[in-house]
Symmetry: C2
Subunit: 161 residues, 2 copies
DNA sequence: GACGGGGTACTCGGATAGAGCTTGTCCGAGTTAGCGTGG
DNA sequence: CCACGCTAACTCGGACAAGCTCTATCCGAGTACCCCGTC
């Protein structure tokens, strides 16, 4: 149960984008160079975020990515779901159907108590992720590292793309 | 972030084992036939559970697997961890180290606020799994399906192995 | 000097290969039960 | 009849392949800008 590496990249990239002047787009190449990541692959993750409506993209010169909505309206769950997909980690293949008294009509994802127990944990995980917005993270970072916004903007401006 | 299929098998197999007379071992072949699973592969999962101290195994005729301790002392988290490993789902590769002001000495798994946010969710997930014991599940199932214990024992006895 | 058109460079987007992990399978080491034999 | 040793079958345990997802990369479609020519 390993989460894709792209999740970390997506989270940090979104945070960096939250410090960019609104209306300014940043290219995938710059966002990748920021952490020395493979540009083409990060681009793939940013595409997923765009499809999810978290980022908006524009082509051509002066093109790139920017946040599609306010950081307060973007939760960690939104980003994780955009990259990893909506499925829950535990997948119930309903093996009870092969057991004694197995009924082809029954939806064991609902009735199986083991499945319910696993889902309970999954919901707790999602609830915790949904409770943290990008604005929360942004605010915490700014409080702990006041230089972060300016430092990020400067580095993004200085990087060649 | 897909969990191994073996987790479901392990959970159901442990539950079935909780209904077997204590002192009686059940072979991997029987546990697999119970749900028409590939025996050799289930065996692999049972080995992992044994290494984790959840099951105890014995070789030779009349050998097999049995619970190593009381169902009340086995949590869902124990079983999941035994199969999936102890690592948390979100892996922080500390890409901040490549960013501005990156310090090779700093442990960004601790200081990075994004990493902390993800860990918070992971802890909530684990807490929920640890709160549910095999005895809880067993009790709930027996209350909802009173025939389950006998039905399970009968099927295990009837299966050829 | 202002406007319009074409070319050009730049960006995303999806289609295309390679690596690592999960899944699936096999055979060997160890152990226990049963049986036969001898006392 | 009982005890002992041997055989043989059975089980786990780890070593050995195949499929699939994740990782990585490339090139094409689309777009905005810039330059040049014309009015």
């Amino acid at each position: 149960m390993r989460m894709s590496e792209g999740v970390e990249w997506a989270l940090h990239s979104c945070l960096n984008l939250s410090w960019v002047d609104s209306g300014r787009a940043v290219t995938a190449a710059k966002l990748a160079a920021f952490y020395e990541l493979p540009a083409a692959y990060l681009n793939k993750q940013l595409q997923a975020l765009t499809r999810a409506g978290i980022l908006s993209s524009s082509s051509g010169p002066r093109g790139g990515f920017q946040l599609a909505r306010s950081p307060a309206a973007i939760t960690l769950l939104d980003i994780v779901t955009a990259i990893e997909g909506p499925d829950e980690a535990f997948r119930c293949d309903e093996i009870l159907r092969q057991g004694p008294g197995g009924d082809p009509e029954t939806d064991y994802r609902q009735t199986c108590l083991i499945s319910q127990g696993m889902r309970r944990a999954d919901i707790a995980w999602r609830r915790e992720l949904a409770a943290q917005t990008l604005a929360d993270i942004k605010s915490s970072v700014e409080q702990k590292f006041p230089a972060a916004p300016l430092s990020t903007r400067n580095r993004l401006a200085a990087l060649r793309a």
